[in-house]
């Protein structure tokens, strides 16, 4: 296992009953890199994210992040290590405002004790203010400044996805897992997303991307991993993947979209 890599996933497998969702997948990602995971539906991409973030435990294999073993850790332990993620079906705190959603992400930066919050000490107020400012800054970064005090559930879909990214960034991660961030976005929003992810990379955050949208994948990725039926069928730079025969075959059903993006 390469020690320079931020995250190393080694021969990880996951079976649910008789179904093998992930089969001996191996890959790694280094600091500041953007890596995409693509593959037909049902290829196990979200399961892979669930494995890395601790939602599901691997049947076999090893995962390491910054030298720490990830297997067996709970999602909140992994979240505290510096891995953040978004969800395919946006899991926002719908009844809370945009600002509050992002503030939740900052919870670890405030260490005021219970007594301080009960008695509203100066320390409490200062830390709350800092959280508010930090959250505000991230909201500006993703472009939701005008929505600051809106209820999250009222936002249009595209903006909800941006909010989820802002919230994930609040945990100051070293690695960000984005699960289909471009799904349901129109062309303008897709371009916006591409710019945002590049800005995220500039902040020294590595990005692991699960995506169907080839335009986004091709525009951003340093490297692409292709899964089919839970197995890795190709890995390499975008140009290599485009030309890879096995990949084209796996996508035969989606040939039109793939061909259009060539």
């Amino acid at each position: 296992m390469n020690d320079c890599q931020l995250l190393s996933v080694s021969k990880v497998s996951k079976s649910f009953g008789g179904v093998t969702a992930i089969d001996k997948v191996t890959f790694s990602i280094g600091l500041n890199r953007i890596k995409s995971i693509i593959g037909p539906n049902g290829a196990g991409k979200t399961t892979l994210f669930n494995l890395i973030s601790g939602v599901v435990r691997p049947s076999r294999g090893r995962m390491q992040f910054k030298g720490t073993n990830l297997v067996g850790l709970s999602p909140n332990e992994i979240g505290s290590l510096g891995i953040a993620r978004t969800f395919q079906n946006v899991l926002l705190f719908s009844k809370m405002t945009v600002l509050e959603n992002v503030m939740v992400g900052f919870h670890r930066t405030a260490d005021y004790r219970l007594m301080s919050s009960l008695f509203r000490t100066k320390d409490f107020k200062a830390q709350e203010a800092a959280i508010g400012t930090g959250a505000g800054e991230l909201i500006v970064l993703v472009g939701l400044e005008s929505r600051m005090n809106e209820t999250a559930g009222n936002l249009p879909y595209g903006e909800q996805k941006l909010l989820e990214i802002a919230r994930a960034l609040a945990t100051a991660p070293a690695l960000l897992l984005l699960d289909e961030p471009a799904a349901g976005l129109n062309t303008a929003e897709q371009d916006n997303l591409i710019r945002l992810i590049r800005r995220i990379r500039e902040r020294n955050i590595a990005v692991l991307l699960v995506e169907h949208n080839m335009k986004v994948v091709m525009a951003l990725s340093d490297e692409i991993l292709v899964l089919d039926y839970g197995r890795e069928i190709a890995t390499g730079a975008p140009e290599e993947i485009k030309a890879n025969q096995k990949v084209i075959e796996a996508y035969l059903g989606k040939g039109i979209e793939f061909a259009r993006n060539r």
Binding site: V55, S74, N76, L92, M96, H107, S117, L118, G132, A135
Partner: protein, 329 residues
């Protein structure tokens, strides 16, 4: 600076209402000083303490406890036993009650809260019935079905709370204080995390929030509130019997929580009022009062999803009365 301002605005709405309400409560005995009214409002206040904790558990941890009358009883019996059999200071008795309740809540909560679903409800059900039986059977300790009598009144530095008037203020100052504590808790990082946990436990988890520990802490916190309420109860009525701490009373507390609705200030208060005052008010109907009481519970929840808070909202014109009809939920 701009962001800070907007944040404060949202939070500050509740506090003026709270203080106004507290002032009204403090003035109440001057308007209705009769023993009957004081007595009733003392019971409302004691219930309010319990329901405030239960509301936190339900509203933020999304869990139901069917053992809050049990924790209530633990507080009551701890106070009773320490004062009558051990001749300890009543406040020490209350402290013992708090510790025992917290410990038992930890034991019950630890295995139940690890799992998603209503397992805590079922575990507290079993726990509640068992302890109820213990209250009756452990005669040397609890006095059995006859209970414990002769519980002295509380006093601070010699000032004795031995009249309805004085006890009213003791209870309501404590209730207001406890309500304030909960409000401050909710409007802080802890409160945000709890609300997050309630909305989407998975999302909260991946943000690094240890949801299990939060739920456990909330459960223990609510059990402690119930125990304190129980101690106050014991000192007020001075003779306690196991009857007051059974499953039906736990169910009453839960009903108060849900019927009151989840509003932070109004919910527990309205719920406590309805369930405490209604049976009294219906006494005129004699034997039928139970039927009417049950009927009112049913009707409130049929028409107002948010319980009494929903009813108030409708009256205030905030929400239309048309809800969602269910089908294929």
């Amino acid at each position: 600076m701009q962001i800070q301002h907007r944040l404060d605005n949202r939070r500050n709405n509740q506090y003026p209402v709270f203080w106004a309400f507290t002032a009204a409560v403090m003035l109440w005995p001057l308007l209705y000083p009769s023993r009957y009214h004081l007595n009733m409002m003392i019971f409302v206040g004691i219930s309010l303490i319990v329901v405030t904790g239960l509301n936190l558990l339900f509203g933020y941890a999304g869990q139901i406890s069917l053992a809050h009358a049990t924790f209530f009883g633990i507080g009551a019996y701890s106070s009773a036993v320490s004062c009558t059999k051990l001749a300890w200071n009543p406040w020490i008795g209350m402290a013992v009650g708090i510790l025992v309740a917290a410990f038992l809540a930890l034991i019950v909560g630890l295995p139940s809260l690890k799992l998603t679903g209503y397992y805590l409800a079922m575990a507290t059900l079993g726990f509640g019935v068992i302890v109820e039986i213990l209250f009756i059977q452990l005669v040397p300790l609890t006095g059995g079905p006859d209970g414990i009598g002769g519980i002295p009144s509380l006093s601070i530095f010699g000032f004795r709370f031995n009249s309805d008037f004085r006890f009213y203020y003791l209870v309501w100052v404590i209730a207001a204080l406890f309500c304030l504590i909960v409000m401050n808790l909710v409007n802080s990082k802890v409160g945000r995390n709890m609300r997050a946990l309630h909305e989407s436990e998975l999302a909260a988890k991946v943000l690094g929030i240890d949801t299990f520990r939060y739920k456990l802490k909330i459960f223990i916190f609510s059990a402690v509130y119930a125990a304190i309420g129980g101690s106050l109860f014991a000192h007020y009525i001075s003779h306690i019997t196991p009857e007051s701490f059974g499953i039906m009373h736990s169910i009453s507390f839960v009903a108060m929580t849900i019927i009151g609705g989840m509003g932070k200030i109004w919910g527990p208060f309205l719920g406590a009022c309805i369930i405490t005052i209604l049976p009294e008010a219906l006494m005129a109907f004699e034997a039928f009062h139970v039927i009417i009481y049950g009927g009112i519970i049913v009707l409130i929840l049929m028409f107002f999803e948010e319980g009494m808070v929903g009813l108030i909202n409708v009256i205030l014109g905030k929400v239309s009365i048309r809800g969602k009809k269910w089908y294929l939920q």
